[in-house]
């Protein structure tokens, strides 16, 4: 038992590696946050002083987080401000947006400004001036582990929710087709119910596999590919908005940070194995 706890402790809290993954996630999350909410928060939408101040703070903090200036403060500030808005605005309360809020909080707990940021550029300039070596792009990535656990929970509980005959029989899948694609008599199409049944079963199996399998290096590549296909299909077929891209972006939490680092290095110099 102690050995398992020690192993978990090392996995969760002693993950010191390249910060390029978290740098990329930081930028991606801000773009998704803007895609989701920026339109609603433009200053002219609500000209009460309190709203103008809150919305200005949103744009200032997310902007600083995106370019990576004073990143620890700006990313934590962004996490706090979108959490406050999530709690305040009823229209924001949705599990898709909850994932965005939690991921921003978790990424703010990592040194996500050590890579791809103005902070990095300023640190390099200071090092160059004083003749010191470039500052390391290495930090404790425990926030990435929290993101990984969050994604597993998303997959596990969403699959759990589908464990009923209504869904497993394919009927709920048919309902989605009738709900979003009404306009044709699907019941008369040969094999329509069978196809919905197969899609329903496949979805549940894949979601359970994704909940646990992404931690296993041997299966990761194939499961990620299957997961991306699943999410892209959801994105194209159903009104999901930012959720698909958030999930795909957060897959970076499962890829070893060293692999991401080497993959990017390989683009800058001769090939080396990751």
């Amino acid at each position: 038992m102690l050995r398992i706890l020690q192993h978990f402790y090392n996995w969760a809290l002693c993950y010191r590696d390249s910060t390029r993954s978290v740098g990329l996630i930081r930028i991606g999350l801000v773009l998704l946050i803007w895609a989701r909410w920026a339109g609603e928060l433009i200053l002219c939408r609500d000209i009460r002083l309190s709203a103008i101040l809150l919305n200005s703070a949103f744009f200032l903090l997310t902007g600083l987080m995106c370019v990576g200036l004073w990143t620890r403060v700006s990313s934590m500030g962004t996490a706090i401000i979108i959490s406050v808005m999530f709690a305040m605005y009823e229209s924001w309360k949705h599990h898709h947006t909850f994932l965005l809020v939690m991921s921003t909080l978790f990424i703010a707990l990592t040194p996500c400004g050590l890579s791809y940021s103005l902070d990095r550029w300023l640190a390099l300039r200071r090092a160059l001036k004083s003749g010191l070596p470039p500052p390391p792009e290495i930090g404790n990535l425990w926030g990435l582990r929290l993101i990984a656990i969050q994604l597993s929970m998303v997959y596990f509980w969403t699959a759990y929710d589908k464990l009923n005959w209504g869904f497993l029989s394919g009927a709920r899948m048919e309902l989605l087709v009738y709900n979003y694609y009404a306009g044709f008599d699907y019941a008369t199409l040969p094999g329509f119910s069978a196809l919905c049944f197969i899609v329903a079963i496949t979805t549940v199996i894949l979601e359970f596999l994704l909940a646990f399998g992404l931690y296993i290096p041997k299966f990761r590549k194939y499961l990620m590919l299957a997961g991306i296909v699943l999410h892209v299909l959801f994105y194209v077929l159903l009104p999901i908005r930012t959720f698909t891209l958030t999930m795909i972006l957060l897959y970076l939490a499962f890829i070893p940070a060293a692999s991401v680092h080497h993959f990017i290095n390989n683009m800058h110099e001769g090939y080396e194995t990751a």
Partner: protein, 151 residues
């Protein structure tokens, strides 16, 4: 120095740097609390059926499609012949196909009867217009009307 060796030396430097015990303990406590929140929240909402809004459930498209109807209209002729009525054509659905799905779908018993009334106006009062309909529920399809006459 290659990029790979630079990465390795940076990693070693950071790994050997000592962290204060306070930082380590705070991080461990924060991790445990956040992990509990992330893992326990959906268990509370979905496993224990808790009502608190402080936690998040993960139910995708849980209520979508509930109440949507699949309908089949037809006219029963005096000689017993059944004539299927394509309500999509009768109601000019071709024009609706590019509209929002809220305008295209038929929702609930009222929606079926409303569409029935519109078809009635097209086919005239003398026709014996009838409908079979099923409605979407959490458990799947349930029969709504069998051979119901539209007045």
């Amino acid at each position: 120095m290659t990029l790979a060796s630079q990465y390795q030396s940076e990693k070693t430097t950071v790994e050997t740097a000592a962290e204060s015990k306070l930082v380590i303990v705070c991080r461990a406590v924060a991790f445990a609390l956040l992990m509990l929140y992330v893992a326990f929240g959906p268990f509370y909402k979905q496993g224990l059926r808790g009502k608190s809004n402080a936690f998040q459930a993960w139910r995708m498209y849980h209520t979508r499609g509930i109440g949507v109807c699949d309908v089949e209209f037809y006219i029963r002729h005096p000689d017993g012949r059944i004539e299927h009525v394509d309500h999509f054509k009768t109601l000019d659905y071709d024009k609706l196909l590019k509209s929002h799905h809220h305008l295209r779908r038929i929702m609930g018993a009222k929606g079926v009867l409303h569409v029935g009334q519109r078809i009635r106006q097209k086919v005239g009062n003398t026709a014996d217009l009838r409908v079979n309909a099923r409605i979407g529920t959490r458990k799947g399809w349930e029969t709504l009307y069998v051979d119901k006459r539209i007045e």
